[in-house]
């Protein structure tokens, strides 16, 4: 469904953010990307979204190569990024302007009900709490019914309780529409709660270190043995990914560096 092949991204400064990443996802699958900072998770997401161009390799959705933002791919950012001059309803309808007004309204009402914000249509974004704003952002991304939904650490700025409730909202929305979801997260528990598969990435240059399948049914109890075992495997993989790439001191560097 979503096929990433030998994807490489080198920035103008010469940093290789991603090196030869291949990943293929089935329709409706949820994959979480975890890894230390600088391992190219966000770069990967931006390439899949078509916001950046790859230096090598390709991304394809149902066989169509992604070169620019694409109706089949929705993106949820780290921050809600609601447009402050539009009401909540107009924000959600932002990607629906090609539809008749009535259909837009119906979809907005339905989306708001789904995320527990029914009746919030006419609020301004500034009147929402962080969790409410992110729920509106999720609704906005899902309203045009994309086949692939990308999430860039969407809950990292929220407190633990809000995050847990948003996990539930997200899973309910996913169950209704079954988009393929690729999400970047720093939070191992979040990855185990949501994902079918966790991809551990390794920094400098960013590449895939390990893939861990999480195949016990949702909802997942964070105190269950299976949950704790999955968490342990991911943490071990993360440890491995970091220790292997830890830079070794170069012999010719130390005296000069000391002088400076």
């Amino acid at each position: 469904m979503l096929t990433i092949e030998a994807l490489t991204k080198t920035y103008a400064g010469g940093t290789t953010a991603l090196s030869n990443v291949s990943l293929s996802m089935q329709a409706g699958e949820i994959v979480a990307l975890v890894g230390g900072s600088g391992c190219g998770k966000t770069t990967l997401l931006r390439l899949v979204a078509g916001l950046d161009r790859p230096s090598g390799g390709s991304v394809a959705v149902d066989g169509n190569v992604v070169t620019e933002p694409n109706a089949a791919v929705g993106l949820i950012f780290q921050e809600p990024r609601l447009l402050p001059w539009l009401s909540v309803a107009d924000n959600i309808a932002f990607g629906l302007k090609h539809l008749p007004r009535k259909e837009q309204r119906a979809r907005v009402d339905f989306a708001l009900m789904r995320v527990g914000l029914a009746g919030y249509n006419d609020r301004w974004p500034r009147q929402l709490s962080g969790g409410q704003a992110q729920r509106v952002a999720i609704s906005r991304a899902l309203a045009p019914e994309p086949k692939v939904l990308l999430l860039d650490e969407p809950f990292s700025a929220l407190d633990a309780f809000t995050r847990a409730s948003l996990h539930d909202h997200l899973l309910a929305l996913w169950a209704a529409q079954r988009p393929t979801m690729l999400m970047v997260t720093h939070d191992v528990e979040e990855a185990v709660t949501l994902a079918d598969r966790v991809v551990v990435m390794q920094p400098r240059p960013g590449r895939i270190f390990a893939q861990i399948a999480i195949d016990f049914p949702r909802p997942r109890d964070p105190l269950s043995d299976a949950f704790i075992a999955a968490k342990r495997r991911i943490l071990e993989a993360l440890d491995g990914s970091l220790s292997e790439s830890r830079p070794k001191p170069k012999p010719d560097e130390s005296p000069a560096a000391a002088w400076w």
Binding site: A49, R81, L83, F94, W124
Partner: protein, 280 residues
């Protein structure tokens, strides 16, 4: 009703400028404080002239200025002059603001257009406005057209610069939202860039309007048979300082009122703003 709902409601009321008792009282209080100092100075001068400390010939006391204003009002001259001046400002402001908004918007959205035209505009911007007067008189004659043109030029630059600067500083994160939703360049301008700059645009229009009032004086000083600027020249030539001061006071009042009208008109467009303090 939870505490947060209550807070939201209060925020909403504050933003919509509720007409409640406290707001009206606050406004009156603000007016009283703002008027106190000039009123005190005027009163002091009046007393000084009456007591014979000064003869008040070159700096007329408030009572004589008021008498002049009343005279001008009775004959209908004052209204005629005010209408003439306001008409010039309105026309010049309209032309300048429209041109500044359109050209600033295109320059902001298209790097090519900006590289092509911005150096020229920036160059013209540093030309003192009065320098245009002889040219405009040659081109458009000595009646209304050169005056309106001069005001339009004065209004154009702050609006152009304000719109251009605001478009260039629109948050990249919001522009990316537009990209994710595959907006074309024209849609990006209409749905993201223009709404995002509304607050800066309102400020740019205000400074443009302020300059419009400055330039109308310059325009009317260069030769007019009516208008508040004409009252100034006339007062100088006939040695009537009370008429000069009266015209200056009318200018101050008109400028303030026009600015307040502009703020009031733009307020509904800016209700969404999440700012620490209410708009001026």
């Amino acid at each position: 009703m939870t505490a947060s709902d209550l807070a939201l409601q209060q925020a909403g009321e504050a933003a919509s400028g509720s007409e409640g008792q406290p707001a009206a009282a606050g406004w009156l209080k603000g007016l009283a404080v703002g008027v106190a100092l000039p009123a005190l100075l005027a009163l002091g001068w009046e007393v000084a002239v009456r007591a014979g400390v000064s003869n008040g010939r070159l700096v007329p006391p408030p009572s004589r200025i008021l008498a002049t204003l009343v005279d001008l009002w009775r004959t209908g001259d004052l209204v005629m002059h005010i209408v003439a001046t306001l008409r010039r400002v309105a026309l010049g402001f309209a032309f300048g603001a429209v041109a500044g908004t359109i050209l600033g918007g295109i320059s902001g959205a298209s790097a090519m257009f900006r590289r092509l035209t911005d150096p020229m505009f920036q160059g013209f911007r540093s030309v003192p406005s009065i320098a245009w007067v002889p040219l405009f008189v040659l081109w458009f004659g000595i009646f209304e057209a050169p005056k309106v043109m001069l005001i339009a030029v004065g209004v154009f630059f702050p609006v152009y610069l304000g719109v251009l600067g605001a478009i260039q500083s629109v948050d990249r994160k919001l522009v990316e939202v537009g990209q994710v939703f595959r907006l074309s360049q024209a849609q990006m301008l209409r749905r993201i860039l223009l709404p995002a700059i509304l607050p800066s645009w309102a400020v740019a229009l205000r400074s443009g309007l302020g300059l419009g009032f400055m330039f109308v004086v310059a325009a009317e000083l260069m030769g007019a048979s009516e208008g508040l600027g004409y009252l100034l020249v006339d007062g100088q030539q006939l040695g009537k300082p009370d008429q000069i001061v009266a015209a200056i006071i009318v200018f101050a009042l008109l400028g303030k009122i026009a600015d307040a009208v502009l703020v009031r008109l733009s307020a509904p467009l800016l209700a969404w703003q999440d700012t620490a303090r209410p708009a001026l």
